[in-house]
Symmetry: D2
Subunit: 318 residues, 4 copies
């Protein structure tokens, strides 16, 4: 079946809502964390749920803040704080675990540069702790943090997964936080949604469409993924507008005849129709916003601050 692509579990879940289908094994919780920040939690509990959603079992937390891309002197510290709280729930307990942060994506392509840019602003401590011990940094709770920007396969000739697995075996972190730009289904979510999941990065996800999983199975340690949708697949845009067309058809007086006969096609036939029409070139294209440079610059600060707080300021926060 033709699958409209989304990396957001929340959007995958919504599709079923639209169709009034209930999915067994998938739980949804919602919370208004602050007046401006909405947090949704999708838990895929069973293999059946995973199959229905097209995503692996695990926790998917989504942080929505409509004003996330607006200018703000403090780079939206309130969002960083909420992000750090979600992260702490998914990170190992205790204060002595070591973390490798992986900035996935292509620095040279603006909407795909989120991961590398987050790493640029990270507070990295592993080398200092290795040389001077953990109490030299000044606070009582500093954790060892290292980071890597593996680059993309067209540049390195290697899968990100291979690079991260090699470095993980060599340097032995306890947990990985992988940051990546995502593809959303709806243009309305671009640049204003953060998804945090303990299922890692899975094939086909991200702007660059990873071919191999980066998760606890492939790497051998827990992998928490943080993603922000910065693009929509070109195909998605077309399908969405066509749906609107057909909706409109069924309402407009003059178009009723058309749509009624179109409606006689079943879902399968509609998807087949669209798939045939989509130019094969569209598969190598994406849609992004004109101000994506500004958005990615701001968001990368918000995310790196969230990670910094989660890993370095535990005592102060609690």
């Amino acid at each position: 079946m033709f699958q409209v692509r989304t990396d957001l579990a929340l959007e995958a879940r919504e599709k079923f809502e639209e169709d009034n289908v209930e999915i067994k094994g998938v739980r949804l919780d919602e919370e208004q964390a602050t007046p401006d920040i909405h947090i949704s939690s999708v838990v895929i509990e069973t293999e059946n749920g995973a199959k229905a959603m097209g995503k692996p079992k695990g926790n998917y937390v989504t942080l929505e803040a409509p004003n996330m891309i607006e200018e703000d002197d403090g780079y939206h510290r309130e969002i960083s704080l909420q992000l750090s709280k979600v992260l702490k729930r998914l990170l190992p307990k205790g204060s002595d675990f070591t973390t490798l942060v992986v900035g996935l994506g292509n620095r040279a392509v603006t909407p795909d540069s989120l991961g590398p840019r987050v790493v640029d602003n990270l507070c990295v401590t592993r080398h200092i702790i290795q040389e001077f011990g953990r109490y030299v940094i000044g606070d009582s709770c500093h954790k060892s943090v290292s980071s890597i920007v593996p680059g993309v396969m067209a540049q390195t000739g290697m899968e990100s997964m291979e690079i991260v697995r090699g470095i993980t075996k060599e340097t032995g972190p306890d947990v990985i936080i992988a940051v990546d730009a995502l593809a959303a289904r709806s243009t309305k979510r671009l640049n204003r949604t953060i998804q945090i999941t303990d299922t890692g990065i899975n094939p086909g996800s991200g702007v660059g469409n990873h071919r191999h999983a980066l998760n606890s199975e492939s790497i051998g340690i827990p992998v928490i993924a943080i993603g922000i949708p910065t693009v929509v697949d070109a195909a998605t845009i077309v399908i969405d507008t066509m749906s609107s067309l057909l909706d409109a058809m069924s309402q407009a007086e003059q178009l009723r005849r058309i749509s009624s006969s179109y409606e006689q096609l079943d879902l399968m036939e509609k998807y087949e129709l669209v798939r045939e029409l989509l130019s094969p070139q569209l598969n190598t294209m994406y849609v992004t916003t004109k101000d994506v440079d500004d958005a990615v610059k701001r968001l990368s600060f918000t995310v790196s601050e969230g990670i910094n707080i989660a890993l370095q300021e535990e005592e102060k926060e609690q």
Copy 2:
């Protein structure tokens, strides 16, 4: 009327061909310059032609080379050579004119970074000639070349036109070459077409949608524009696919009933329909290719070499 946007005169011309409409005042010449390079020349000769085409009177030369984005050690010197020949036809005669090259667009947004990147690789000589005279450089025909990357309005608070006009009045070049990334109508032209025109840059063109003209009227000296399409407007993609849908409808057995009634709408009604359906957000979005970083990097070398040859190697070439 809803206008599908294209910065390419060639595409504007093709639209009429499709409709079998002849346009008075518009002349088209074609030439196969080399086995791999096709050159088309659209000349808009009258105000009527300009109105029909939605573009000002003047010369529009298009260089098409399907292999333009493929890897090549010499950065496609054969294309640079053809580009330099077209440029020389439009540039002032003689060897003593001075040129200001303007790299339009936003360096931080990959598909819009063509102009700034072309300027990076340019052979700039004005300051050397001003200090040491024109015969010091070693060759007999070196022309004075200066360059500027004005940035985009969101960064500078000024129109590119204002910046270029101010610098032109102050430094007195004889001609401007403005380089910009363009929007095409068809994804098939992305990254493999160069348009050279003596009409400058006009409102609404370029990836960044200039609001003020950069042409001989606004600046006071001739402005030659070099553009390569690197994006397609998101709206264009949708309209194209819907056209395919309707074409298919009229052929597919099962869909004939729908399309026949749709066909009863006239062109105006179809456009109105589509315009209403297009999300307002789509206006701030564009579609680009996933390998746009590589494409822009390569193309910027090809274009800057073309300009360098046109301005610095005249005697050798002829």
Copy 3:
């Protein structure tokens, strides 16, 4: 006479202090603004003072903060605040003047990239105010701000002064703030000193050694310059160490004989000696710190925040 180069008026003044020379027409005031921030004010009041100091008449305020380059979540907002206070003293009075901020220097050379990077983080408003009026932004006192990164002569073929003068005539700002990386005499001042002056940028100053002045005389409107030393001339390093050598010589038992005879040379002879020994290549070299990338990144935030506060938050601050 051989002149050891410094762009800091404070250092030029100190040279005389060392020699116990009093300079007529030069006034020095000091103030401890906060426990961590020291502010010195050098006022060159007469042409004689200007000649002695090797700098034009005017105000030179120096902000010294030893911890300026240390990591800080808020990018040292306390320093930005002090900077904004100094700026407001030098800027025109009232709330309706318009400002052009000029980011001088070469973005591709790390220690010279301060100016372009400051402009990246600036709050630019001119285009919004021109389109929607000044009261649309939300606050009651927003001033029109535009910005330009002119690039360096090797890239543009033009003097920064020519570019700025052309843009100034075209767009009519009331005042210019020019930001540039400076050369200090002492390595101890690198990355921890901000100089603000109403004398603009003068020939020979900056990392890139400007050849033409950017001041009220050349541009026609007041030019306030903000500079941070990020390099030391290579020659300076050598001369400093040799001075230390000679000092040590006069103390060490074993060396007394050498130094005493060296001391018989007068200052002129010493300088001549050093000048002859300095490789001509040294003139094209500079000394910088290994962490200059981090320092420039942080400092550019501090400076742009200072400018943003000075130009946009007047009412709130007072």
Copy 4:
């Protein structure tokens, strides 16, 4: 003993020449490859030679070309060709080995960005060969090439060696080519010398002063290092000028008395003297040329072309 730092074996060798000392176990061959390119070969054959030179046993080939930094349309293909010939001598024989190219250094610090920039222009093939087989690329002899830019410890918290060793174990290349910016002793060698060695990268070398070796011992496979000096240690500049001072002293009539008594100090005493005088800050500083951005940009093309030719065009070249 105070060691003036150089990463170039040729310079280490020259020091002994100056002192007319012959070193056992070190062999020097010279060759004028083309009128403009001089190739020197230093072979350290014994442990004694290694000790004397302060460098491990192995081959050090130096390619000197005075015009290397001058502008050239073809990015000095003649130098790339000579570099590829030297590389082929040190690379494994046969056409079926796999290579990992490592771009060492800090992309954000201009003179240290050589390694990352070389990797940007590399022809990477491993992923294509893994997916489609080695004969799909079009030529008969394409070798598998992968690449990585590990970043610097301040960014990653990890030693480059750890990252490279992990990736090597995971992806199994047969040989590593590591590219790095070096520190020279003489400013005259900056940007115009390429050193190729089969001893890898060793502690204290490179602009960033690596702390761990990246060689066949630490990584487990042969490591060929390509380096170009882009900086001189600040201390070196001072010592060199002081040597010139003392030379001049012994010649100048007026200074003879000083230098003769200085000469009575032995070498040890002189070094001690200088070491004491050198500011501790100087250890964190380096000297570089003002046009280092242009130099590194050009040189990175020359080096990546040399690697591309050595790894991809074997049959054609011979």
